[in-house]
């Protein structure tokens, strides 16, 4: 744990060496989620509701997903570097060090510029929370936190899964972005909007709906089931199959040499 802190400090310091670049990238992150937000704003003012969800409820959804994605990207994007590390044959170096492999991969890269996107999500949350008409109590506050934690879990699990698959393909898998970037873009609306089949897919195959749609039903009082409140925690189990893929990949890893 202390080692992780040291790593983080070093990475933060190194990114702060290029201050202008850091802030511009953060600004770019902010703007790109802001244009997505404007898109939602334009559509929701035109139609007022979508499948009976109001603008504030959609915004709540947007901020939870955006926040979870920003946090996951900040701390777990190290997995993204795996294809590059593999093809350059540098992975061997990680293997000989007496530390956990996942830990080393993660600690090697953190994107603090994601603070731009995070800030956006927090601002939207501050706007949507009081306006959504939700009667807040401890259960609901807890649910909201579970949603964010579950979201970070699912997104980071996906990053881990792609890194694990790279052991088999050596190169990056671009189309997997559908589940991460697509999950972020289309998760801005409650997933039931896309119809039953898509909802089922995002419940049982890639569990985005577990931290997004179902707990939102509980938050907005559409359902009283405590199960929906706890589903985001169930989503954390998504890490298990992802970790399995990673472990199998790691076992059959062969150096690309150099």
């Amino acid at each position: 744990m202390r080692l992780l802190g040291k790593y983080m400090l070093i990475l933060l310091k190194s990114q702060m060496q290029y201050k202008t670049s850091f802030f511009l990238t953060a600004l770019g992150q902010f703007l790109s989620s802001f244009s997505a937000l404007l898109g939602i704003g334009f559509l929701m003012t035109r139609f007022r509701t979508v499948s009976s969800f109001s603008m504030e409820e959609v915004l709540l959804c947007y901020s939870v997903v955006t926040m979870a994605f920003a946090l996951a990207e900040c701390f777990f994007r190290g997995f993204d570097a795996v294809p590059a590390v593999l093809s350059q044959g540098e992975f061997d170096r990680i293997l000989v060090r007496p530390r956990n492999v996942v830990f080393q991969v993660l600690a090697a890269k953190m994107e603090f510029t994601r603070v731009g996107r995070l800030l956006q999500a927090i601002l939207v949350l501050c706007y949507a929370l009081p306006k959504s008409g939700i009667q807040w109590n401890w259960d609901k506050i807890l649910t909201l936190m579970f949603m964010i934690v579950g979201g970070v879990g699912v997104f980071s699990g996906l990053f881990l899964l792609f890194a694990g698959l790279c052991f088999f393909t050596v190169e990056g898998l671009e189309f997997m972005n559908v589940f991460t970037d697509g999950g972020r873009e289309f998760g801005q609306y409650p997933l039931a909007v896309y119809g039953k089949e898509v909802l089922k897919f995002f419940t049982f195959v890639v569990p985005h709906a577990l931290f997004q749609y179902y707990p939102l039903l509980y938050l907005t009082g559409r359902s009283d089931s405590k199960l929906y409140m706890l589903l985001p925690l169930l989503a954390l189990w998504f890490w298990v199959p992802c970790l399995c893929v990673w472990k199998i990949g790691l076992r059959r890893y062969r150096s690309t040499g150099s």
Partner: protein
């Protein structure tokens, strides 16, 4: 002229080699289009009266956008040009007895066209086979189709001319990061990359119509489905041609000024 044509041919065939990347792109673009259409279908069920265009017109719009992403998306750049500005290889570009603007312009055209050739046909085919109103329908008429083609060519040239401005800004700032990120975020929204332009509020749209952004991909897609009637297309096409000329003239002047006092990085 011959030199540019030859360079275009080389870059184009080089671009055609990336077939695995193209396949991944096709799958991504298709899934993206599919989910977008389902999203708009939900809005349509909620309130069909507020829909600014017919649903099948929208579906065609979205499928054309996904299929020709490589041609019209404002965020496709040639990384080589950025890195040669940063690394100082810009010097080699200046030594060549060729016009730098035209050279880069042709390079970008070839990059976009080669990507589009590989990606557009699979998406168009599948989209055309989808059941109505979710699939790509036939154009509103022969005249609409003709206007779509000419407007699409103009859009393609216009988007490339716009991207040239970002490269040129980099000649001044040396680091592409800031300009590029801000430009990409803003342009993607204004060209209809996030939601189609007809869904913007009317007062925003009234201004946006006259900017180059509306001419970058929105116009050809609406001509195709007849959302802009064939008879009313002439002024919009003229505006498109005007913006193309304006951006090229502006870009050339700006680049020449920049190159006169360009800093060559490195040694």
């Amino acid at each position: 002229m011959k030199a540019y044509a030859a360079y275009f041919r080389i870059r184009f065939t080089a671009g055609l080699q990336y077939r695995a990347a193209a396949l991944a792109g096709v799958v991504t673009q298709f899934a993206w289009g599919f989910l977008s259409i389902l999203l708009f279908a939900a809005f349509y069920r909620t309130d069909p009266a507020s829909f600014p265009m017919g649903f099948s017109q929208l579906a065609s719009y979205l499928w054309l956008r996904q299929a020709f992403l490589a041609l019209f998306a404002s965020w496709i750049f040639d990384g080589e040009i950025f890195s040669l500005i940063q690394s100082g290889s810009l010097a080699y570009e200046l030594v060549r007895p060729l016009d730098v603007y035209a050279f880069w312009y042709v390079k970008n055209l070839a990059l976009r066209l080669s990507r589009a050739v590989l990606r557009s046909f699979p998406i168009l085919t599948v989209a055309a086979l989808l059941p109505a109103p979710y699939g790509l329908s036939l154009p509103a008429g022969w005249d609409s189709f003709g206007l779509f083609l000419s407007s699409a060519v103009l859009s393609f040239l216009l988007v490339t001319a716009y991207c040239m401005l970002i490269y040129i800004a980099t000649v001044y700032t040396l680091s592409p990061l800031g300009v590029r990120m801000v430009a990409v975020a803003v342009t993607d929204l204004l060209t209809g990359g996030i939601i189609p332009l007809p869904f913007f509020p009317d007062n925003v749209l009234a201004v946006l119509r006259f900017t180059p952004f509306a001419a970058m991909q929105d116009l050809p897609f609406r001509l195709y489905s007849g959302h802009v009637a064939a008879g009313e297309a002439a002024p919009a096409l003229a505006l498109q041609a005007f913006w193309l000329m304006a951006l090229v003239v502006l870009g050339r002047a700006w680049l020449n000024r920049g190159l006169r006092k360009a800093t060559i990085q490195g040694g």
